[in-house]
Amino acid sequence: MRKLLWVLVLVGVVMLGTAAWAFDPIPAQELKIGFVYVGPVGDGGWSYAHDQGRQAIEKEFPGIKTMYAESVPEGSDSVRVMESFVRNGAKLIFATSFGYMDQVQEVAKKHPDVIFMHCSGYKMMDNAGDYFGRMYQARYLSGMVAGSMTKSNIIGFPAAHPIPEVIRMINAFTLGVRKMNPQAVVKVVWLYSWFDPAKEKEATKALIDAGADVIGMHADSGATAQAAEEAGVYVIGYNNDMSRFAPTKCLTSSVWDWNVIYKDIVQKVIDGTWKPENIWWGMKTGIVKLTPYSKDVQEEVKSQVAAEQEKIFNDQWDVFTGSIKDQSGKVVVPEGQRMSDKDLLSFSWFVEGVEGEIPKSN
């Protein structure tokens, strides 16, 4: 009983301590930053894009020190990596995958003087915030391009894991497709892996066999684009410009540009103005964008996409504005209403036009 009391007192003190904490400015020369990557920096995809951001910080702020650890499994292994960054003097840590969320909370609690930023998550503490970009906006626009190009009205979509982030991307993509072509469907195949080039390739082939003549994608390697190029069907890339894997068939890619957001966060830490917040930047800031179109995309389509982009930039309208139906045809988001960020971050249903299932019970 007495032990328990002591624990409670201790917890109380720690909580008071963290609540009162403020972050002093740190000169760039003294700032050490740690990056935790889920894949190898050479994946040519997700982790590669984050590492470009890290390199941009080093250029932008001379004297700053960055460290990174690649291929860190999601879950408890990441604790060890973050702890070792802290031991090495990191005052700011970027955890760049959704699956580090609880571990970030755990480590952040132990080290209230270190700032943690978690990519794509939603939990916050006094010294831990979140950051992400509204990739779904670019997804929607790229979906419009896909919808305008399909003749079979089947668009294939190999996708990594059935989690809200991926579901949101598929939904946004499908809404874009249906904007241009209400008959088209998006067929989804789950890979259950972020990174397995051979499997991505095989899934793409399966979709092409099933009649897909445009391929979208949400996984981390270039194998999907390559398979599409080999089979002579169009592909819409993701993460990075996939035209290097599909030089003639890549219509456009929706890509990340983390430089802007990393520079902004680091600047705030240096100035001492950092506050815990959930940053979710839109396409207008440049954090996500479309790569230049292939020559096969018609001018008319380009101007339609540009018009939609304009609406998003002006914030007149966003992708998930009603009316939106689910797969059964039921109206879920009423006419004119926007889905809240909270709903977007916990997406667990497909919009009308998606062919595929979200496995239940997880």
Partner: protein
């Protein structure tokens, strides 16, 4: 019908890297050496095959170099396990970690590049046979090499003196030694050649299948091969069957999803491992008769000649 052919053809395609790795490991294990470094050997094979193809434009040269690199990798294993009689499990795991790390370090420069690699060559005549043709004879040449290897090894381990010698060394090195066989030499050779074949499995993935290099691209196929050797009960034909089954499960589940059925795919993906555990239970329940099933009797045990006695 067309979809079924597509699935089986895809099974052959995605089973081939596993098949090479399984056959390589089988040769190694037949001589009594356990090598858990397959994943690392496959990755170094994949990288060396890709990089040489990229630099010279010749995919066959790439595959040849991958074979040599695989031999070099297993030379480490052979030296520690056979000459120094170190722990085979630990050395194998170290080889996996080393191969994974070394390949990602040395492969940095090749990320994002592609090669022409090996392309499909339908075999004239055979590829037009209904069903069989599109399934088995409409692939790249390395797939045909793997067929040849299965047939060769089936004959080799049963009908040749060298093959029988390897098995003797793996089953009972003491008896083999008494027969006048050089246990060390046979184990070295089996390990090195097996390692080369394992590396070809990796090279198949980068040179023929994906035609690109990415870190960690074998994604656990080396471990599947370790399981598959047991599943196949050290028999090359069963290994081919198992590799296509394991590869087929993957192709099958992807196409099932496309077709829109609701069989839970994670369950399907665990199926091969269930089967492997089943086979292990079956073999273990008949302990002592394992030799009858082809399991090398002295697998994993270093051989001490005890010359002092």
């Amino acid at each position: 019908m067309g979809i079924l052919i597509a699935i089986v053809a895809a099974a052959v395609r995605s089973g081939t890297p596993i098949l090479f790795a399984t056959l390589g490991e089988m040769i190694i294990e037949k001589s009594g050496v356990l090598n858990l470094g397959l994943e690392g050997i496959m990755l170094t094979g994949a990288l060396s095959g890709f990089s040489i193809s990229f630099l010279t434009g010749n995919p066959w040269l790439g595959i040849g170099v991958a074979f040599l690199v695989g031999m070099l990798m297993t030379l480490i294993h052979a030296f520690i396990c056979i000459t120094l009689k170190g722990n085979q499990v630990v050395t194998g795991l170290a080889l996996t970690i080393f191969g994974t790390g070394a390949s990602s370090l040395l492969g940095q420069g090749y990320i994002g590049t592609t090669i022409i690699g090996l392309t499909k060559i339908p075999i004239p005549g055979l590829s037009t046979i209904p069903m069989i043709g599109p399934i088995f004879f409409n692939h790249d040449p390395l797939v045909y090499v793997s067929y040849g290897l299965v047939i060769f090894l089936s004959w080799f381990f049963v009908s040749t003196r060298t093959g029988l010698n390897i098995r003797a060394v793996g089953d009972s090195p003491r008896a083999a030694d008494a027969m006048g066989l050089n246990v060390t030499r046979i184990r070295y050779l089996s390990t090195l050649i097996g390692g080369g074949i394992v590396a070809m499995g990796g090279a198949y993935m980068s040179v023929a299948y994906t035609k690109m290099w990415t870190e960690g691209m074998t994604a656990g196929r080396g471990w599947i091969a370790v399981a598959l050797v047991i599943f196949a009960i050290w028999n090359p034909v069963r290994a081919a069957f198992g590799a296509y089954l394991f590869g087929g499960v993957e192709a099958f589940q992807l196409r099932l999803q496309v077709a829109g059925t609701s069989i839970p795919t994670p369950l399907l993906l665990t199926l091969p491992y269930f089967l492997t555990i089943g086979v292990l239970v079956f073999i273990s329940a008949r302990k002592g008769k394992g030799i009858l099933f082809g399991a090398p009797g002295a697998l994993g045990q270093p051989y001490y000649r005890e010359e002092g006695e």
